[in-house]
Assembly symmetry: C2
Homo-oligomer: 415 residues x 2
């Protein structure tokens, strides 16, 4: 079974809003064993909607549409769909009751504009949208399905999870899909590709491999498709097992999308705490960790020590260390990590100090020179990185992932 | 002139990576006066690439393609394009020199797999990709243009800015365009829309207005299109001048894309320094500021005070304050801002403390309750925010922008 996704909205097309709906929908579909053929983003225009829908209906078994269901004039999806299916708009009792309920909760008066939200094409089935006034509409024609949902992300996500995906699985007999992520660090894409080529060629036909590069690391994704979930899981497990003897030294973890997630889950699982002392990464490590709900269980806090004075006064880096070795040095990185770990009384600490660029390098310490230190209660490790590029954000992101990889490797060591 | 965008990548199609390339490309195109017809996201499959390309070529003057140019087997865009244009792969001297240069910088040996990056269809023109080994390929056929770029965001952005957009403007003679951003904070979109409606209706025909909402704020973008750049600039200047008497109290700045940029430029221009004390924003303020080159001129450092212990030991928040008022309170926010400003000896300081969600709220302090304080050498201001949603990242981003707006307003006060 294959679906196409059509995301409607001028704000998406002009780049004002990043289309996060597409990835959220795809993730939910893939996890349910439903393949996505393509994602189309178009503006709020009748021709574009009609043409995309007609084309996607030829291509796919179902077409999932988001957006253009608001009460204002620029939202035209509903009337376009009504024409497309040669239907007429009628007031739907379920949708009207839903609009009434939501307005009662908010204490607002129901205006004619809002009441019009309950008008739907006569030929569709309304899937109740518990979180909003725009109805979710399910159309069937010649064995194919078209679903129209609001573009508001949390309404769309709730509808997909509770209404649309279950009904798609019921309507179409969906196959099984098993995904597996492997996070790899410390080797470039082309070198890894050479290294694991024999293994890749020997993979069973049901498994596809994808290389997904992130800053300073790689995610390998194995996708197995077929009918029997257990069989696919077995094939994936076997493939992963045989990968370790070849590339195990570069594998930092499995089953996460990012190293941030991996650090988050490992620190949470082990009940260990972390503190950070960031210079060149400027708070990005702390920001990425605290973006995840539950970070307060392990993250005690961090210091962004951008100036030398702050490195001294807030982290206890010795004045003589800064004078003798400079801010970007192994000694400073180590004292930063040890200083914040002691001050914040955490089990582990990460420190970064370097020259992110694009300027600020010297002949002996060019842009891209970064020292990272990771400290535990018993010892400290440090690593020197020499990133080739002058791109600030890239050097920051690579430093963050390098620091996370070092922390994960230390977390996996036997104490 | 209209373009279609095709983003290729299984990782996009299955939702493992959010397609930020689409919005970044659209923004750059729109700013250059080039309209976007549609954005199509497809997987790394030959049929999908061929069919989408053929269709988009009918629809648009140019088709911009990203992705599928890596050295590994799953990347097939180049060979598909080669077939599409009935060409053959040849080693391109410019591309090979570029690959050599990048490998020399990194100190790596050039493997056959990497050398193959320099193979391109004979019929295309190579636009040099200074930042990566995947070549940017420019095809022309029957007055239409196809451009293939790597999907790595920073390479794509650099290529768009330095190679692709200028060449599109030159090829299609796109006319003059002048953009103007106005950052607005403290008023909702619909209220602002009502307030400035007469002004908007009186704008000259060459000017288009767009509302671009960001977290907790709005960017108004005026776009003037025509033939004479000076004339367009004059029309824009006049429009902005007449906006101030109507909505000046909500305008925090001009000519920046974000409040972060505005804070960066104002602190730099005024020669003032800043420190941060972040709880609920978890380092995001520091991270956003230090993402900009030159932040070290004004940013002394920050403390991410996630636990109460850190608020006390690193910021000097009084134990009695935390006990009496709690971590999420005006008193704590003020003591955090004043504490970090004094300790880091900065001219200004920002502090945030709140409940970002999705959990952790209480009846008196529900999710979305955030206190922000901004301190100068002479006084401290604090504000309570009550965000309606439980979405963690949204509440963090809104808090950051609110804090930046408060700082900018304080920076503009006469001392």
């Amino acid at each position: 079974m294959k679906v196409s996704i059509i995301n409607i909205g001028d704000e998406l097309l002009i780049g004002q809003v990043v289309n996060t709906n597409a990835s959220a929908m795809s993730q939910m579909l893939i996890a349910a064993g439903i393949d996505v053929n393509e994602v189309v983003t178009i503006g709020d225009g009748g021709d574009a909607i009609r043409e995309s829908l007609a084309r996607c209906l030829k291509l796919s078994d179902a077409v999932l549409i988001t957006g253009g269901l608001g009460p204002t004039k620029d939202d035209i999806t509903k009337t376009v769909l009504c024409d497309f299916f040669h239907s007429r708009l009628v007031e739907n009792a379920v949708a009207l009751e839903n609009v009434r309920r939501l307005f009662a909760i908010r204490g607002f008066e129901l205006t004619p504009v809002n009441r019009a939200q309950a008008l739907v094409p006569e030929c569709c089935q309304v899937l109740n949208n518990d979180l909003g006034t725009a109805p979710c509409m399910w159309f069937e024609q010649d064995g194919k399905v078209v679903v129209s949902m609001p573009g508001v992300p949390f309404e769309m996500e709730w509808l997909m999870e509770n209404r649309v995906v279950p009904k798609l699985q019921e309507t179409f007999k969906t196959g099984a899909i098993v995904n597996k992520n492997i996070l790899v660090q410390g080797i470039g894409e082309s070198f890894l590709s050479d290294l694991i080529e024999p293994w890749e060629l020997a993979l069973p036909k049901c498994i596809r491999l994808a290389y997904l590069p992130q800053a300073g690391m790689l995610k390998l994704r194995l996708t197995a498709r077929g009918t029997d979930r257990d069989e696919l899981q077995g094939a994936i497990d076997e493939a992963v097992k045989t990968l370790y003897p070849i590339a195990g030294q570069y594998i930092v973890g499995e089953d996460c999308e990012t190293l941030t997630e991996l650090v988050h889950s490992q620190l949470t699982a082990k009940g260990k705490t972390l503190a950070t002392a960031e210079s060149c990464t400027g708070g990005t490590i702390a920001s990425q960790l605290t973006a995840q709900a539950g970070a307060s269980r392990y993250f005690r806090g961090g210091i962004v020590a951008y100036s030398n004075e702050v490195k001294e006064c807030a982290l206890g880096v010795k004045h003589s260390t800064l004078e003798q070795y400079g801010a970007v040095s192994e000694q400073t990185a180590r004292e930063m990590a040890e200083g914040v770990r002691e001050r914040f009384d955490s089990d582990y600490a990460i420190a970064t100090t370097g020259i992110a660029g694009p300027d600020g390098g010297t002949p002996t310490k060019p842009v891209g020179t970064v020292w990272i230190a990771v400290a535990s209660r018993t010892h400290t490790e440090a690593a020197l990185l020499n990133f080739p590029g002058r791109r600030r954000q890239q050097n920051i992101d690579r430093s963050v992932n390098q620091a996370f990889a070092m922390l994960i490797r230390m977390l996996c060591q036997k104490d």
